[in-house]
């Protein structure tokens, strides 16, 4: 039972990292649906870097770096070039999926490094995720920077006349979002599931995206959702713990994906939507053109 819970929390930390980045991104008005692609890149390049150098630290740095670069790319497309944000995000996802399949294939197999140490049985990244949740909440709701990010996501033209550079804040946010996704990917590949395989991220990027919608852009709710999904995921992988002999393992594998859809339906319900609509960043997904 205890290993089950620990594994669930460790899955949750990955959803949390990716989701927090996307949350800040969206708070500034930029939607990045390509976070699966960034995570795949962070996971694959981080994995290769750590495997070839034998150094975990380099692997995580590579994950952060490629994440920042792809965040910047999304920013360049959607902020500077004015490309539709969904098109750009989809582009980054397909780019990541296609490229990492090719780049990672020669490295198929286990990482082959000693497993990273734990604190009280749980990965230190879990504690880092908790700290990041508090930190993102604090910055967004208690600091001037957070106010700037939120105002840019609500009313960019008003923010602009009050002296905030919309472009600068949005670039900062997408780069942060990219770094977090790239890092989440690296944590996945270097700690949670250190065996490279074709498309081994299994749509976790899309699930993180769904969690951001679910969170109503609140880091604490996001974290709660991440823990819920971590539990579900472990249940789907180990159904024999609770439901021995009931249904094939492949049927259980469908459960987290079905649950994601149900969660999306739930947050689209009238009750939720009246709250959701109030918290949704007003300018989400709209490119801003300086007058």
């Amino acid at each position: 039972m205890l290993p089950f819970l620990i594994r669930s929390l460790e899955a949750a930390m990955i959803f949390t990292f990716a989701g927090l980045g996307e949350l800040v991104d969206q708070r500034s008005g930029i939607l990045n649906v390509g976070l699966e692609g960034i995570m795949l890149f962070g996971a694959t390049l981080g994995f290769i870097a750590a495997k070839t150098t034998g150094n975990y630290f380099i692997g995580f740095m590579v994950g952060l770096g490629i994440g920042a670069a792809l965040g910047l790319l999304h920013g360049f497309f959607s902020i500077s070039l004015g490309v539709d944000q969904v098109v750009s995000g989809m582009g980054i996802w397909i780019f990541g999926f296609g490229m990492t399949t090719y780049i990672g294939n020669p490295y198929t197999g286990p990482l082959g490094l000693d497993k990273l140490p734990t604190i009280l049985g749980v990965s230190p990244f879990f504690y880092l995720a908790v700290i990041m949740v508090v930190l993102v909440w604090f910055v967004l709701s208690k600091t001037g920077l957070g106010l700037q990010i939120r105002s840019v996501g609500e009313r960019p033209s008003v923010a602009q006349v009050s002296g905030i550079s919309v472009t600068r804040i949005r670039y900062m946010s997408v780069i942060f979002g990219g770094m977090m996704s790239g890092f989440a990917g690296a944590v996945y590949a270097l700690y949670y599931n250190p065996v490279w395989n074709y498309n081994f991220l299994m749509g976790w990027g899309f699930i993180s995206l769904a969690l951001v919608f679910f969170s109503m852009w609140n880091p604490y709710i996001l974290f709660g959702g991440a823990v819920l999904f971590g539990l579900l995921w472990q249940l789907a992988l180990n159904p024999q713990m609770f439901f021995p002999g009931l249904a094939s393992r492949y049927i259980w594998r469908m459960v987290p994906f079905i649950m994601t859809i149900l969660v999306l339906v739930l947050i689209s319900s009238k009750w939720f939507r009246s709250r959701w609509g109030a918290t949704k960043p007003e300018a989400l997904g709209q490119p801003y053109h300086k007058e």
């Binding site: 497309f77 490309v83 296609g98 999306l264």
Partner: protein, 375 residues
């Protein structure tokens, strides 16, 4: 911005003439191919030479051409599955899931008729028709889930279709692995092989699915340029709010486009697993084939949703991906050259979106003269 006495200004385009859109699409592909040559350079090869080989294998070699046509059929169907919802402003990235369901349903027909154990007696035309119908129905219904949720509650269709892909992926695994009903009797984790009578007939050396592609092209062209329904779909895609005032029902549109898209994706699943010579089964590696359907996103975006323009694009990408596989084997490149190509083409296309939306105005800057007015 001024540079050397000229002023550069960005202006948002109101309209884009068709020939310009075509030009930008061609440039985007060329740029993508140029970018992709980095992979060949890295392998120590001359890109021009490799592209020559890729094209001559894909379009001139008799064996290669057959593979190209087969891939073309698959990509064209996957593109149509993407285009129909895209015309309504909705994103269908659920082609892999829909095509798995289509393949499963057509194999299900054969299974129910005793094809797995060799007791099938029905005549070939009946079986083929039933398989095609089942593929379209099952995949259409599966696709309709996303449309229903979108139309009814506004649930994000991108995440939903992606989740449905994984659900369908594991459903296939359940059916063909670990003693599932469709499992090969030899137990190799793949489906039973289709008996002779259940394989798609060939006409002129190509499977009948090729004709389905052309029929669909005509039907979609008529739908989008001649019919009120097609107009409603496009109007909804341009402005959902305005369309609502015009009496267009969003729910109906969402369900319809996803059912149609799903049904066509189902045909691409039928094609890959029941009409390609030498396959005729759901292979263990079905996931690789399914994910190639994402090429449909690129074909659809590059051809700007035009059903006729989609076909040459699908043919080009089909040839490139087949030729890429060939080059991969010949140069001992890693697995997945065709996936990498897909990624590079996509990102190049996104960069070129800029030119669809903006034009750069260059004007000579007038010198301002300071002339004192005196009389």
């Amino acid at each position: 911005m001024t540079l050397g006495g000229y002023e550069f200004r960005l202006q948002r385009r109101a309209t884009l003439p068709g020939w310009k859109a075509a030009l930008f699409s061609i440039l985007a592909v060329l740029f993508g191919l140029a970018l992709f040559s980095i992979i060949f350079l890295q392998a120590g090869q001359n890109p021009v030479e490799i592209y020559k080989q890729i094209f001559s294998y894909a379009f001139l070699n008799s064996y290669g051409v057959r593979l190209t046509i087969s891939r073309f059929i698959f990509l064209a169907l996957a593109s149509y599955a993407f285009i129909i919802p895209a015309q309504a402003g909705l994103w269908n990235i659920g082609m892999p899931g829909q095509l798995y369901l289509g393949a499963l349903a057509s194999f299900g027909v054969v299974y129910l008729m005793g094809g797995k154990t060799g007791e099938m007696t029905a005549s070939q035309p009946v079986i083929i028709l039933l398989m095609l119908t089942a593929a379209m129905l099952a995949a259409g219904l599966f696709g309709a889930i996303a449309g229903f949720l979108k139309g009814k509650w506004g649930v994000n269709e991108i995440v939903v279709t992606m989740m449905l892909n994984f659900i369908a992926f594991y459903f296939v695994a359940f059916m063909i692995k670990d003693g599932g009903p469709f499992m090969n009797l030899g137990g190799r984790g793949e489906s039973f092989e289709l008996p002779e009578a259940a394989r798609a007939p060939m006409t002129g050396g190509f499977p009948i699915t090729l004709w389905i592609v052309f029929i669909l092209m005509v039907m979609l062209q008529v739908l989008f340029s001649r019919m009120g329904l097609g107009y409603q779909i496009r109007a909804f895609g341009k402005s959902p709010a305005a369309a609502r005032y015009a009496g267009i029902k969003p729910f109906m549109i969402a369900v319809l486009v996803f059912s149609l898209g799903g049904a066509i994706a189902g045909l691409s699943g039928y094609h890959y697993f029941a009409a390609v010579p030498g396959v005729y089964k759901i292979a263990r590696t079905y996931g690789y084939f399914g994910d190639l359907a994402f090429y449909g996103v690129i074909c659809g975006l590059i051809s700007l949703g035009n059903p006729v323009a989609t076909l040459p694009v699908a043919l080009l990408f089909g040839g490139l991906s087949i030729g890429g596989r060939y080059a991969q084997g010949k140069l001992h490149l890693g697995f997945g050259v065709d996936y990498a190509l897909m990624g590079v083409l996509m990102i190049s296309l996104v960069a070129f979106q800029f030119f669809y939306n903006y034009q750069i105005l260059i004007t000579k800057k007038e010198k301002k003269l300071d002339v004192a007015i005196s009389d």
